[in-house]
Amino acid sequence: MDSSTKQYDVVIVGGGWAGSALAYKLASANKKVLVLEAGIAIDGLITNPDENQLVTGNRAEFMNDFFMAMAKTPESPYVQNYNAPRPSVLDIQPVPPFKLTQPPPPDQADLPHLPEPAPPPAPINCTDVKASIDNGYFIQRGPIPFGSTYERRGGGTSWHWLGTSLRMLPNDFKLKTVYNQAVDWPLTYQDLSDYYDQAEFEIGVSADVNEQTIHGITFSEGYVYPMAKIPPTILDNTIQAGVGSLTFDGSSLNVTGTPAGRNGVPNQLKDGSFYDNGRRQCQGNTNCTPICPIQAKYDATVTMAKALMTGNVDIIYQAVATNVLLDKNTPVNPEVVGIEYKTYETTGGPCTGTFTATGTKYIIAAHAIEAAKLLLMSNTQIPAGVANHSGQVGKNLMDHPMYLGWGLMPQPVYPFRGPLSTSGIEGPRDGAFRSNRASFRIEIGNEGWNWPGGAPYAQVIDLVSPMPPDGSGTPTAGIFGPALRKAIQSTFTRQFRIGFLIEQLPDDNCYIVPSKTCFDNLGVPRPEIYYQFDNYTMEGFKAAAAATDFIFNTMNVENNTGIPVGSGGAFVYEGVTYYPQGAGHVMGTHRMGFTNGDSVTDANMKSWDHDNLYIVGCGSMPTTATSNPTLTMMALAFKAADAILASF
């Protein structure tokens, strides 16, 4: 795995979504590219036959791990790797010793308010590396535990992304100008529009253009999505019939199809060609997260395969970047001269070597948290880390914290059928209220109470072995046989859930630093995370709860919203306890901006500090808006690719 004898045009740290997109674009333009991927190889996607001797994975194995998992979390198909560890949703617990109190009413301003001043962090025992990672890869400093996870292997987090491929709204790029909140992006919707086209083509997005021209979104003349909108579910149509013509807080509750990176019926494109990516059409396995069994849903291995097929890419797996090396001979704005990386043979075994990869240009595309961590770890030459003149690396960590509402419809809606989500309510994503509170989008879930309520298992168990009042394990008699069957048929078929993706603003109190005390099996620091919600977002939660009540009351839903299975991130606001769920959207930690004073990169994701370094990913996003960030990330990656090619 020694790449030091070969000189590359571009070295990319990260073989996931952004890394694959960049490798493909650059290799297609005849650049020689090296990709360093921290995690394991995916069968069929190696360039060095020796990689077949190491740990590799494939969909069959991942599906098997999924089938055999008791808790079918997003991580369940993807075995932990102690040399390139990743977080797990099962590890999200309230962060001691912080307690959250509600902010005081205006006439009680002298009472303590959220958050409490931080005492020194509680010690976390990391001496047994593997056991400690098993308890949670993140060192959570709170006050709120960070709720989202990611993957480190070929293909990255795309393996378990849901598939939602929404464009951002024009106002999302101008939050400061229009709503006097946070910052503007250093580019506009129009700047990104062509790149959205490219990204939707590469992924293969199924949607109806007419439904997507919301909140000022425009498309290029005659634009056609690669494939037609995925047919909506019975639940989608039920909600549309129930509330689609109503409004909440001035926002339309119209239900529209959600553009998705999963194969539908192909369209004839603007250029006259008929779209075909060779993959199967969705069969409604209802498993997009954590894994599509048939790759009807796009994942980044599709693009990495195309990159490798050009013959211009070398990819080294099980190669963890640990240090970004700067030119010692240039005191001001030194260029990057190499990436040090450690290799390993097995996911629990020792380091097998340290090497340096060299190229003309360097790209860090390692996911928001790992990219920031790498830049901050690379601090032997500049104490503040690489690319960090602004001090913003690792800062502004954001997610889309989600509010879930769930209940029983009066009539069956037949959950657990179709993709996990086919439609949503996009009206609440923009409006005057954004001056005061976070916006959100409403995702309609087709998987019943699976996420908040552990359905169908928990509900069957409640019927068959009801929990005794003392919560102990003593046996109790429940129902069985035909009575059980009738109960499932009459009740479970009415389950549904909605989820609100709530906007977060960049916040100095939300950041990640490399831990000084806790390390992974290679001795690489683990991420230490400080995270919270501000009033803007908590007001968004309050509105989400009110919207849920409104929708549920209008539709005569039996409201079962309560304490979800994943309750580790709870907070209290105005006396109400909320249970946010991470959406898997990790953003902000190496944001773009207008100047080097308050941002890490320019609008092309080029570091202000190092002319040959690009940092690309959802970490590039200065604000979160409400759209699932992946499509935007890919558009940004293509924009960065163009800029990189132009810079040669």
């Binding site: 599906m63 069969q283 069957v460 005794p468 919560g471 394990g473 008699a477 046989g481 035909p482 499932i488």
Partner: protein, 157 residues
Amino acid sequence: MTLDEFIALSSALTGYPASTLLPARDTQKVAAALYAELSLSTNNIPAAQLDQLTQVWNSISGTPPPQLEAAVNTNIIQNLAITRLAQNIIYLWYFGIWYDLTKNPNSFLPLKNIDHVVSPLAYTNGLVWGEMGAHPMGFSVGEFGYWANVPTLPVIS
């Protein structure tokens, strides 16, 4: 407990006919895999409980169908000495999961337990999914767009 006893008891507990649980043309061998759980030593099934469940079942298995359900309820489900074991059999068929008998199945605790999925085919043949007119998450033979149509739920006899 013999395989035949297991199937007959399972039929009464799950509400599905024996011919569904152990089809004449058995392509996926789910019944055999679930039955094998009763002999798996790591499941720590107290022998006395299994014997008692077997004997009780045999004593009522001849009950004519209209009264059988009530007999199962009285003699097995309400009999707290063997109810958890009987309920575990329901979970085997509905989920393809064997739950640790010493804890409540709806609890994650204690963290060290022997809850486990029996096999991928046991999971994909779990009864709960079809009961809802659906399919196991991660395994569907439906055609594109089937989700727009109202499914037919299985008949309860």
